[in-house]
Subunit: 503 residues, 2 copies
């Protein structure tokens, strides 16, 4: 296994470089003095360049081939076979793309990102339009190197979710969309819940103390992570022993910080639970973007927006804010936290409308890549679809087509993983409920250890050893992503909150 | 200048890698969760390895040669000529040393560092002894690649202070030692100052608020830096727009945090004042270790331990701590801050004894490298010299020979730069007093801008463009380091505090 050991060492060095780059980025978002941003961009660019050179070098490619031969006789689920498979896949994708095209995409994205930021600030799509047009064109050329594929969008989907295709997603989203809209109609027919008390002022220091209590109980290990403040909350890791989260706190949005921290903590618990043997390899991460999102959404929605959760935590929260909540019951608080109301901004959407935001973007990306839409028509299409899916229409581009950063970075195919994550979370949760009869009881007593143990054993420990398809089987026991599982949970939850009859 | 531009870009990438490594180290000392230290060492190791590969590669060496030819006709003080000179010197030193020896030194130092930490904890030199013996031997072999030199210690001195030799330091230290000891005798003959009130408890939050006021007034730019807490205070930079300091605060040592922060801030102001054109090059740092130390010590001793400084700041400090200081006059406080008392630990030494600690180490390093001392005899020699220089003797190895980290890192030749820094500081200060007649007045009114402007114009702006010898001429107007200048200032100061007649 001489070549395998050399490969492992080379991969470990690349992992270290990724960790250094991640720290440069973490610092940029948390503590960096603001006049240093130009230098920081250069530093991140240099690291990215060196990582790219190392991971796409011919030497590295040959080493992967030789090591794969050494590992050929080992079981396919062995560490060696998994690592070779993963590196072969990544190298195979990278090496298909000419360096000039990769550089062109990166360079255009850098400019596009600035244009997007300006366009969003001025709420003027036309500033971003030429860059978006270039990026779509470049990504079409990129996808061209992977033809024939079923759909030109497929190679991009595959970048975020190995094996994911339009042919697989279309039927899932088609079924999901109709059921989500039907649910919204039922909710709209009921009286709206009262959440007036959530619009008072809540001391941010007390909010943070509460959040710390919650994530500590969830099992977040502060000896292998930390929480800081940043403009946009995120999770990042510098190896499996240092997985950090950030959050943001608003005086007038008392559960925003909590839900955001719980979401990021869900991501972090996933990485902290990965088998330590995988450390310093590309297997030391989530199985895919959808699986990562399944963990953040599971904790955010199925745990922190659940009745059981607030049975335990509401008395603590109420005691912190007696002025605002003395006359509010746990029941009323729970309902308010779960108020459903179609809104324009994806990241602020509730559990019942979130996937509709995603499907809108998915349909548009598919059209953009397949040439079914003129770039100039994108805002109008966005607004029309928004009305069709959510019943509301943005008043301007900033609230609409310019709200998300993804396209400005040249990324198409990322959005669907958010919805797939929700669906996978529901399937994992359903299995957990089946295998842990006392799950609800433990959460009602503030004990998350049984749930975390279950997640670690059935998902976290594997990291990125296996394909998403195999990971789905291992973690849910199912062979396919099932929107009905997700919808069943939503129906039952909102039937109780809004008082309609569940199907 | 095609090759020069390529060289500049290659050097910029190496600068970026140094910045990334420095951030990994900064984070390790400030915010890193403690269970991540093994991974962090790997990451730092990988960056160090890549930096070494890039800066010692044959390609890089050839590029330096070609670029130097392109720059040959430019003025020697041009950016291009200075950068080529610097890179040529560094490459020349690195490429003389076989990679196997460099790796051996690094590997032995890593082990030695652990042994030293254990030895210091147990106060048992014998644990460290075999590693120190190896390191001395390795450094002798290292120095062998630079022979003939006047003294085998010279190539090591040159690593910290270009052009520095035993032949140059010996006469300076010989003169200095006698005068320092004579000063101590005069002070000892006077009555001791009373500093009992400095041993009360001082709230650490208020101490930090005071420290922040001081460094802000000194001109520390928080948009290009920040101050955090760490076990051992240090300054680090990630480019010329992000120079950070750390500090440490003790409830029962009310001026320790202040002096430490002012010291680090002195280092930081130096780097923040370097010509921005030098950013992302190896010229974007201090001219040498001694020049760096001259700036930290100038602010720490000649400013923050001065009478003028406390004329302005004592009322602020007293107002923060009325319980402890209501009955203490500014005069009494100033004297207490400047109490002279020979002590065992270098980093806690006062201004009048500090250089004696350095000279003790210099003499020992010289002997160690020249084989004039058996490794087993080092503790005894240390203790004997301590008594000879300072009149006191350590009771154990932890308080004596094991107190400093430098030897455990395989570094010999670093210590003398601390004392040289003190001497240079005095010469720069003397020039500043001459050229800024209102210097004392401005400090007495809390205005440090004239001093900082002077330092920027006469030293900071140059960065590492020139050799230490040239930088000395530019910053002090003198051709040589002059211990009498330093001693003159000390004599005058302590004559006033202790009440003896100055020479």
């Amino acid at each position: 296994m001489k070549n395998f050991e050399a490969l492992r060492e080379a991969a470990a060095e690349i992992s270290d470089l990724y960790a250094a780059m991640a720290l440069l980025e973490w610092d940029q978002q948390t503590f960096m003095p603001h006049n240093s941003s130009a230098d920081r961009s250069e530093q991140i660019g240099t690291l990215a360049k060196i990582i790219h050179e190392k991971s796409s070098s011919k030497t590295f490619g040959k080493l992967i081939e030789k090591a794969s031969k050494e590992a050929a006789d080992l079981p396919p689920d062995s560490f060696e076979a998994c690592l070779c498979r993963r590196l072969r896949r990544e190298f195979g994708k990278t090496s298909r793309i000419p360096a000039t095209l990769a550089a062109k995409i990166a360079g255009t994205a850098a400019k596009a990102h600035h244009a997007w930021a300006e366009a969003r600030e001025k709420s003027d799509f036309s500033i971003f339009q030429p860059y978006l047009a270039q990026l779509i064109d470049l990504r079409r050329r990129y996808a061209g190197y992977f033809q024939p594929s079923g759909n030109i969008y497929d190679p991009l989907l595959d970048n975020f979710e190995e094996g994911c295709t339009v042919a697989k997603i279309d039927p899932i989203f088609r079924a999901l969309r109709e059921k989500q809209r039907a649910l919204l109609r039922k909710i709209a027919a009921c009286g709206q819940v009262d959440d007036a008390f959530l619009h008072a002022e809540y001391d941010t220091g007390k909010q943070l103390a509460f959040v710390n209590e919650v994530i500590t109980r969830m099992g977040y290990d502060f000896t292998r992570g930390r929480q800081d403040m940043s403009e946009h909350p995120f999770t990042t890791s510098f190896g499996l022993n240092d997985v950090r989260i950030t959050t943001k706190v608003f005086e007038k949005l008392p559960v925003s910080c909590l839900l955001s921290s719980v979401h990021e903590c869900g991501h972090a618990l996933y990485e902290l639970g990965i088998d330590k043997k995988l450390n310093r390899t590309p297997l030391a991460e989530g199985a895919s973007f959808a699986f990562h999102e399944s963990q953040s959404r599971l904790w955010e929605n199925l745990v922190a927006r659940s009745h059981d959760f607030w049975v335990f935590f509401y008395p603590h929260f109420q005691a912190l804010f007696p002025e605002q909540l003395a006359s509010v019951s746990a029941e009323a608080f729970y309902r308010a936290v779960n108020k459903v109301e179609p809104s324009l901004i994806r990241t602020e959407a509730d559990e019942a409308t979130y996937n509709l935001h995603i499907m809108l973007r998915y349909e548009m990306e598919k059209d953009m890549l397949n040439g079914g839409i003129e770039v100039a028509d994108i805002p109008e299409t966005w607004n029309r679809k928004s009305f069709e899916y959510l019943g509301i229409e943005p008043e301007n581009d900033a609230q609409g087509v310019l709200q998300d950063i993804h396209w400005s970075m040249g990324e198409f195919g990322y959005f669907p993983t958010y919805a797939l994550g929700n669906l996978i979370a529901a399937q994992i949760w359903t299995r957990a409920e089946r295998e842990l009869p006392a799950l609800g009881e433990s959460i009602r007593s503030g004990d998350f250890a049984p749930l975390l143990d279950f997640l670690r054993k059935n998902l976290h420990v594997y990291g990125a050893r296996f394909t998403p398809a195999e990971t789905l089987r291992l973690s849910t026991g199912c062979n396919r992503i099932d929107p009905d599982c997700f919808m069943g949970i939503l129906e039952k939850k909102y039937a109780a909150i809004y008082g309609f009859r569940a199907e």
